[in-house]
Symmetry: C2
Subunit: 306 residues, 2 copies
Amino acid sequence: MPLMVVGSVALDSVYTPFGETADALGGSAVYFSVAASLLSKVKVVGVIGGDYPTAELDRLAPRGIDWSGVERAEGESFRWKGKYSYDLQSRETLETRLGVFATFRPKLPPEWRATKYLFLGNIDPELQLAVLEQVQQPRLVVCDTMNYWIQGKRPELLKLLERVDILLVNDGEARELSGNWNIHKAGRWILDHGPKRVVIKQGEYGALLVEPDRTFYAPAFPLEEVFDPTGAGDAFAGGFMGYLARVDSVAPEQLRRAMIYGAAMGSFAVQGFGIRGFENVDYDTIQRRVKAFVDLTHVPSAEPLP
Amino acid sequence: MPLMVVGSVALDSVYTPFGETADALGGSAVYFSVAASLLSKVKVVGVIGGDYPTAELDRLAPRGIDWSGVERAEGESFRWKGKYSYDLQSRETLETRLGVFATFRPKLPPEWRATKYLFLGNIDPELQLAVLEQVQQPRLVVCDTMNYWIQGKRPELLKLLERVDILLVNDGEARELSGNWNIHKAGRWILDHGPKRVVIKQGEYGALLVEPDRTFYAPAFPLEEVFDPTGAGDAFAGGFMGYLARVDSVAPEQLRRAMIYGAAMGSFAVQGFGIRGFENVDYDTIQRRVKAFVDLTHVPSAEPLP
């Protein structure tokens, strides 16, 4: 079933205590697509400048990513430079250069308007809405956002929320958006503002799927080595939606399984710099990781207390 | 099967954004016992001063807590005064008065030396060792500790670790003890220093059971209201050991179930000030909470990908 993402296609320069990258493939749409394409075909809407290493994108083509919705504009590609703290718990943005992204107006190829599964990556809520309006009767719309838009474009974001099925954010964003410190209250607040469900990512602690009447907790994978957290959230989203597009269902039990596929993709992402964590990840690797995730929280059937 | 705990029996004065208590029943042995006694009989070794409201202890007697190992000494009971931050994420100790605890030398009633399940609450590792030496062939020894002892009595603590089956600590303590920021590396380090398993509590994020060849993740309960985190870790320990003593087994599948009982007791503890979170908690309440915990991470059987 067709899956589409709109988001940033960027060149990232990242410093972590374990190494660094310079102008490496990055951006929400790239991380999302690389992860999702392991499960489903993906179409990307975005913009790049004349300086983008398109050969690198082509290299990802065999994975089933359709880049034909990525506009090639005059100017520089979007660039982000960031540095992580020694414990990878926080990061500082050293530089953001919007480049061609500053004037980006997403336009869908006409044949993409029938997309059923749509991910609105973390970009200006007005652009997210503009994309949503070009899609006819999607089955599932999931969106991400960040503090920058929560602070700067709150009315537009709230308008968008009324039209999405699932908001997928991290805990800090859920707290800031809702004004509630307690993460479960924050989730409830979001459910009261449009989305039917909310996925709250908690980094090394896993992720929550908050539904009106119950909550699901997907753990994080017990990794002894984490190299680069960049893109983990987008890879999670890619696994989550890639799975749902593959099974072509949004049934409650499929959403729980999708959380595990999301968590698995997030765990691959952090195991290498940039998108390198996905090198050599194939069907078997994914199935083994998913099985390990399920075992991680498996409680042997609880007999009543003696 | 007999379960015994040695730890502090204290009077706590706690300030949280939601209220305060003054000289309320507290201390590791009290929280542990109240939780454990919902599942198993518990014997307590500790010390109190002449000022301790023993009627309050007696009120807990119907729950099956044997306080006859608590010595009544001349002087003041151990007192702790603490204040939580607005988000309950950190706390500051305002005052610690050791009182009769300063000269406490635990002595087991002779008939308690056959204890099979032993919890060494967070006290001086030398006292923990002194208790351990008075018990004959225990089946399971679990111990807790804290930064104060990790810094001040490291050699004694390492000596103790060689003789315990499970170390039960929070993430900050595991990091400080091992010198590893990564919590899974920290767990591995601890396994290399004696214990066969380590339980790492992560507060609102749940708890890990790290074993030589695998890890289990028990989530935290999605509570929209948390009133007082004091004692949650000891209540977790009480649920964990109370369950194992009840089923009289340390089989791997029982350890996983014990983690869920621990998490359930921790969730009751934080729902009220002091030990009040346990009021009205009975067999049915526990079974419902345990079931809710299991559902929280339940992944519907994952068919292979279509």
